[in-house]
């Protein structure tokens, strides 16, 4: 059998396998694809705009700092500058014009404060200092598509930036954020048993923080006890 014959045999076998999947159909409607794509385009535009604004703001701050710190460049003829110290916030939450919530996390030292802030912004949330699921919460079924429609993660200046799109949250679901400062991601073992099914904790690690910690986000069923609503 020559090379061409071999290719034909393999092609025929693969084609037969593909044809045998005729009963398999795509279950994602066009509307969902287009909606997700448009949301992503908006986020891309917003990210670009935010970046440009951040650069502008950064330049303005730098100028202000130079002027106020007695930097040689701003006060020629004067001696060395005075040290300027600032305590950076452990985390900041910013609600965007489109309703998205942008969380910048340098250090998750006040999880209950972050939880209160998110809830005050209308996001049902459970935030803990552990990557393990809060016992008062029930995991909400997650898919990769659902995850990417709700969460977006990035890293900037050593901080983890997490953007939540509350409009993409399914009804009855809330966000769950957990952090471990020792860098361990957990053992991945099943955490709950529902009926005959073993259900894993629906969490995703989104990135190691600057302090080598591990931050995970997932979905839980919203309830008064778990997410405050």
């Amino acid at each position: 059998m020559n090379d061409s014959d071999t290719v034909d045999v393999v092609r025929d076998s693969l084609t037969t396998a593909k044809d045998s999947l005729a009963g398999v159909h795509v279950n994602t409607p066009l509307d969902a694809i287009v909606r997700n794509g448009r949301a992503r385009r908006r986020r891309h535009r917003l990210t670009g705009l935010t970046g440009a604004m951040a650069i502008t703001a950064g330049m303005a701050l730098a100028v202000t700092a130079l002027a106020s710190s007695g930097h040689p460049a701003s006060q020629s003829g004067h001696a060395a500058s005075h040290p300027v110290t600032a305590r950076l916030a452990a985390w900041t939450v910013a609600k965007q014009a489109n309703g998205d919530i942008k969380i910048t996390i340098r250090e998750l030292s006040d999880p209950s404060g972050l939880q209160s802030t998110l809830r005050a912004d209308g996001v049902p949330a459970n935030v803990s200092s552990s990557t393990q699921l809060d016992p008062s919460c029930q995991p909400y079924p997650m898919t990769q598509a659902l995850f990417t429609s709700i969460y977006q993660m990035g890293v900037g200046s050593g901080n983890t930036v997490l953007v939540i799109h509350p409009s993409a949250l399914p009804g009855g679901a809330g966000v769950q954020i957990g952090a471990s400062v020792d860098g361990r991601a957990g053992d991945g073992s099943p955490h709950q048993v529902a009926g005959n099914q073993t259900v894993h904790q629906p969490v995703h690690q989104v990135g190691a923080r600057a302090d080598n910690g591990v931050l995970r986000v997932g979905l839980v069923y919203a309830s008064q006890q778990c997410t405050g609503s």
Binding site: D3, L14, T15, K18, L21, I33, G37, T148, Q201, H204
Partner: protein, 170 residues
């Protein structure tokens, strides 16, 4: 004017989606073996195609781009999963009647191929593209396509003792 242009883009994309999605899903499913995962990967790939539609529609074979994005997303997903516990429906035990697993020696051999060889097999044999087009899409020389195909086909042929090697279990 701009609105009309966007409507036209949406119409084009809708036609593309309707005409290619089933084939792309089946090709991705053969490669990954899990229907739920394949559905997610294909949905993600089409979402990216819509986000970059002006670029994608100008490509020589847009559906090859979709399949490649889906398979590359799968690779990224696996890499991420090796480092962490990324859990979703893919990791959740599903009732047997909701699971479609595509198995068989040939398909197992396909999934064991190195990524580049699998890409070549997918484009050349499953998407039925010729060597030159495959080479342009992958950004490699036609001779390299031939070499990858030769090596891949030798491994796949060894997994076909007869023509009854595939099994679809649902």
């Amino acid at each position: 004017m701009r609105v009309r242009g966007m409507e036209q883009e949406l119409t084009e994309f809708a036609e593309f989606y309707e005409s290619t999605r089933e084939d792309c899903l089946r090709i991705v499913l053969l490669n990954v073996g899990d229907l739920h995962l394949a559905q997610d990967l294909v949905a993600e790939a089409y979402t990216r195609a819509w986000v970059s539609w002006r670029k994608v529609r100008a490509l020589e074979v847009p559906r090859a781009w979709v399949v490649r994005i889906a398979l590359n997303t799968h690779v990224s997903w696996w890499r991420r999963r090796r480092r962490e516990v990324a859990l979703g429906d893919h990791d959740t035990a599903m009732p047997a009647d909701q699971v479609t697993v595509v198995s068989g020696d040939l398909l197992a051999a396909l999934r064991r191929l190195p990524a580049r060889q699998r890409e070549v097999v997918t484009l050349r044999l499953l998407l039925d593209m010729d060597t030159e087009t495959t080479a342009r899409v992958l950004g490699i020389a036609p001779g390299t396509v031939g070499a990858h195909l030769h090596q891949a086909v030798a491994k796949l042929r060894a997994a076909i003792p007869s023509h009854h090697g595939q099994e679809i279990s649902k």
